[in-house]
Symmetry: C2
């Protein structure tokens, strides 16, 4: 499962609409938990105290992923793949903690994770009146968007000024409601424990998105405040008993985005244009990264995180495509839409407001299709250095504007995290940068043609290899101080710069802005407005007892521990360490099913029958990685790290026929910490109540 | 995997044609092994001695299934589900060897398997000239069939009279060739060892036709001659090393039947009529058997073998249906046919002989469809007692006729096995007989209607329950002596009998003969002839370097030990005892993943890392159950017991994308015998060279 970045324009562009209804579906906000369903189906009535505790113990990793406080001393559990960036950054050619694992036996040895920020949701306030009140019926789509943006920015700034908290206005129900989410933030985050990646990601890309699974995909970090371990308001103690088949379980985390109210026209664009194009680019990038990795073990180490991310993306995109070519599911979606449209057509008031929305969306999809390749290619993508250069060019220009006129990622409330990433000392590698940039520019030539303005501006008469080599040779941006100097020098410094990457970024910027503006004005704005109308019609017809689409904010989903039918048999909901050994032996101990030396040595002392991974019917999506799985008592029973391949359909519709959330079992975590790592102190901290 | 009965008219009716070409495809006859492919692909050149040894060690179980001699003292290994009938027959209400397993620690304790016959192929002779020479071009289809039958019967009788061996003429290549197969037979077969069915069939029906798998699906019987352990000409010693991923392996066994040269019209009849109808009847029977089993544990024991067979059938039928609704595969078959037909149309000589064959087959399929339900229902099916009564009625009538005019199953060469089954003392249960007969008669009413001659003849004005109850109450046929008296009394005794089942059978007989004659004359005869013409065209166009369709005679298939891709990952080719424990724990130790008490107690002493089951690309089909898997050295490395769900396509076409043969690993067998059963004497016998 892939982490969901905070900003992912290409993917979120079409993610403007909302959730369809289904049986156990639901990523519920904490101010509107599914109390009735829980009582009716499971005889469970969560108290306010239960909900508050779970919320206060749940955390969000600002650059993607979820987690939970699991001790009173600020210990946070999440996934290895959520903490991977940190583990890599504290590694070096001498100490490869990704390969060998990391364990700080004392607090003094806990290692700072630069750029990591952890958020805890402390308040939700309905500000719909203030946001929606800023829009009048006579405004154009663009005017309405600007008016909303202005209102939102003011609310966020006022909140931040008053409280010092991270304040975000979240659009729910496709703009039917706007809620102000206030977060306490922790920016001093330190790595405590990570297993070897071979064990965290046992089975590698082949087993990713599958079950049975045998991964210890965890890492433990500690939040610090004022140089001391943080004291969270709540934490989730490890359950002493664990879960059994059929148990009610909750997932509390931050699902990134879903698209469950897409119209047929939108689904078709995704199926026929967006996904095939994305797949093409991902495959191209992977082939370059594999070539690069083959040059040597140090190169393989450098490229590992990117390879991992792109392999994951490929499987995810393929899974989504499979969901959308499923004739049965698509017929169900079509029937849903047909019914809703019939109900709208049969009600004069609804028809007046929403009757034209579907046609508007369809027209916008056609426009999107016409420039889809440009959306991917006319950008700073292909090299991290080019991306940084692009961010510097835009940052210096944007911050001079009034907040409400800026590109969204440069508004005040986003600047801090942007700076953290922009000035991160995370290492960059010239040869890797060059390989990926050559590939990206090659794709542009191929898909857009030599005469396209972007290709002309970037390449002139030269070839991708020549341009990429020169750009990387002539930049100082690997040095964080050089970046800082340009940012501090402002537009004048950027305009005067002869740094090769800055020069390239200056040429790309206006072209990329034009493409972006086209998509914002011609696609996003009308689709947003029309999508809201579809949503409004839907609420009037079917009521409001549904959860909003995912928005990378805290949600509670409920489900049961359950296996699933596959390949003519039943896949049971648990695996054990026996299964891990079986699978490793069956693959003759070969990568990615190899056991690291420490595991080879210690396995005889493990209680092999201990549950290791389990499946449940909880509704999750990218961004839920690292979410705690919680039992009725509010105790920690596992940590979400994946969904099986069938959950990829959950972007568009929820089904629990086969789709399952996949978690590391708390019992397996404790057994591994004890039996393999001798981390008895950690186990004590995790099991203390 | 289901055992293939010697006679299975409903299924074999459409199985008249031949094999399509594919990469590693091939169930090769021992007189035409794939020498070139083996040398080119695997650098292996089997000697005549190697082939003779393998052939002499391979055995066929006359009532379905394969096996191999694995010691010089006549010990034969096969599957638990091949020996199940014997294990059941030696069981009683007091001693349930199916549940508890069976192990004869001394030879004196080895238990006779009534009705079991084991065959070893000792000679193959091409008799095509004699069989084909009996047919002249002017003969009608029916005349040609009779002429062939007469010639075949004479060859078989002459051979039997001269040698005392079992002699069968086998039609190969759709009648392109006829070979005389001579078999040494062993009729004194005794049970030596069987594990608990829970372990032989671990995972039960859910895991059947799947992999990963964890079954010790074996039984060991011993062939006796003159009251002493037989001394086979050859046997396969257990390999000391076992196999590894990628190893070349052979399967030597008796595949029942395949239909790989079906025309589109035939495939469509199977897909649209035969399979849906078969599935309907199988589901109906299963629902009755489950109801019956729910009455008590003794009832469950009585019905177990039938439930097992029908559950297997259901999954197999569903798998076949899935293969035939696979648009891609069907398109490939259609393209194959199109190409062949185009080649035929373009060659005057071929066109004259074969040009009309496809249309003939298509017309016959339409006739078959029109009476498909009658083929299933106008029969002695539904009760073993009724089946016995039907066999007695027919036996006494048929044996009075010249051999060549009899129904095929009553010709001299088949009488012995028929008598063995007819006079078998295997127990029958009134309540079970009644339940299944009521269901069968109910189906007839429903599908054929009250006015159909069969329904009128059997039920008159009464209901199915009334008729079935009376028929079972009024019969003495449970007593084997009563059966023998009727057979010995001949047609007069049968005609005079007032035994209720005989009365019923006498009424059914003429109606069933009429349906059978319709299918033989109107479907089978023209399809056979036309199928031969298609086959002849195919040979002329593509050459004769292909193996014939399966015919429940000895075949050699080669392949490699290999995993397969499924659900987005790679399923490795091996499982271990670790995997068995993992799966049992994951299912909370519940049926059918429970471990029997002996296993619970002994598992700690097992080498859990020992390979238990493995997959390979060998081309197999029902009837191969119990076939030995053999390495280059000619040693025993495993015993075939299943194919994964994708192998069900192999009835119609071979593909090794995912389809895999599934075997019990010799190492797992030895480890279980040693570690769980303390059968050290057996292990010594199996590993002695």
């Amino acid at each position: 499962m892939t982490r969901t970045p905070v900003r992912c324009i290409a993917l979120s562009l079409l993610s403007l609409l909302a959730a369809a209804v289904a049986a156990e579906e639901g990523m519920w906000t904490f101010d509107n938990p599914p109390a009735r369903q829980l009582k009716d189906k499971h005889g469970f009535e969560p108290t306010k105290q239960w909900l508050d505790r779970v919320r206060q113990a749940s955390v969000r990793f600002m650059d993607g992923g979820s987690g939970a406080f699991v001790s009173q001393d600020g210990l946070v559990i999440s996934n290895h793949h959520v903490g991977l960036g940190c583990i890599q950054n504290v590694s070096s050619a001498e100490h490869d903690y990704v390969k060998n694992g990391f364990y700080a036996e004392t607090r003094a040895k806990e290692a700072a994770c630069p750029g990591y920020e952890i958020n805890v949701l402390v308040g939700i306030e309905d500000v719909s009146g203030r946001v929606l009140g800023a829009v009048t019926p006579r405004m154009s789509d663009q005017e309405a968007r600007e008016a909303r943006k202005t209102a939102i920015t003011k609310i966020e700034n006022d909140c931040n000024a008053a409280s010092g908290l991270r304040c975000n206005v979240v659009k729910l129900y496709q703009g039917g409601e706007f809620h102000l989410y206030r977060y306490k933030k922790y920016t001093d985050v330190r790595l405590v424990f990570a297993p070897e990646q071979e064990i965290a990601f046992f089975g590698g890309d082949p087993d990713n998105f599958t079950f049975p699974r045998h991964d210890v995909d965890i890492c433990l970090v500690r939040a610090y405040e004022d140089g001391r371990p943080a004291k969270p308001q709540s934490y989730l103690p490890f359950s002493a008993t664990g879960v059994a088949d059929g148990d009610l379980v909750f997932v509390s985390g931050n699902p990134g985005s879903t698209s469950r109210l897409y119209t047929q026209a939108q689904l078709e664009l995704v199926r026929d244009v967006e996904l095939p194009l994305s797949l093409e680019f991902v495959k191209r990038r992977l082939s370059v990264l594999r070539e690069y990795s083959a040059r040597g073990s140090e190169q393989a180490r450098r490229a590992k995180a990117q390879v991992f991310n792109f392999e994951n993306s490929q499987k995810a995109l393929e899974g989504r495509l499979r969901a959308l070519v499923d004739a049965k599911a698509m017929a169900a979606k079509a029937a849903e839409e047909k019914e809703l449209r019939a109900r709208v057509a049969g009600d004069a008031e609804l028809k007046a407001v929403s009757g034209g929305a579907w046609a508007t969306i369809e027209a916008a999809q056609k426009k999107a299709a016409s420039r889809a390749a440009e959306e991917f290619l006319v950008s700073f993508a292909g090299s991290r250095l080019l991306q940084i250069a692009g961010q510097i060019v835009r940052y210096t220009a944007e911050v001079k504007k009034p907040n409400e006129q800026r590109l969204e990622e440069y508004i005040d409330s986003n600047l801090e995290i942007l700076q953290n990433r922009l000035f991160s000392p995370a290492p960059l590698y010239d040869d890797l940068e060059e390989a990926t940039l050559v590939s990206q520019l090659g794709a542009a030539v191929e898909k857009l043609g030599r005469s396209h303005p972007f290709v002309r501006a970037v390449l002139g008469e030269a070839g991708p290899a020549e341009v990429a080599k020169a750009a990387i040779a002539g930049t100082k941006l690997k040095d964080a101080a050089a970046r800082r100097a340009l940012v501090e020098g402002g537009p004048a410094a950027v305009a005067a710069s002869t740094d090769s990457m800055i020069v390239l970024a200056r040429r790309i910027d206006p072209l990329a802005r034009e493409v972006r503006k086209f998509f914002e004005d011609e696609v996003e704005a009308p689709v947003t407005r029309a999508g809201e109308k579809v949503a409004q019609a839907r609420f009037k017809v079917y009521g409001r007892t549904i959860p909003p689409d995912a928005t990378f904010t805290l949600r509670l989903s409920y489900g049961t521990v359950a296996g699933f039918p596959a390949e003519g048999t039943t896949v049971p909901p648990f695996t054990t360490f026996h299964g891990m050994l079986d699978r490793s032996i069956a693959h003759a101990g070969k990568y990615p099913w190899a056991l690291p030396p420490r595991w080879q040595e210690k396995k005889a002392g493990l209680k092999l029958e201990t549950p290791l991974n389990f499946t449940s019917t909880n509704d999750i999506i990218g961004g839920n990685s690292g979410s705690p799985v919680i039992d009725r008592k509010g105790e920690f029973v596992g940590v979400v790290f994946d969904g099986n391949i069938q959950t990829l359909a959950w972007d568009y519709f929820f089904t629990d026929e086969q789709a399952r959330c996949v978690s590391v079992d708390a019992r397996g975590i404790a057994e591994a910490l004890r039996g393999v790592y001798g981390a008895d102190a950690l186990v004590r901290e995790l099991t203390t109540r």
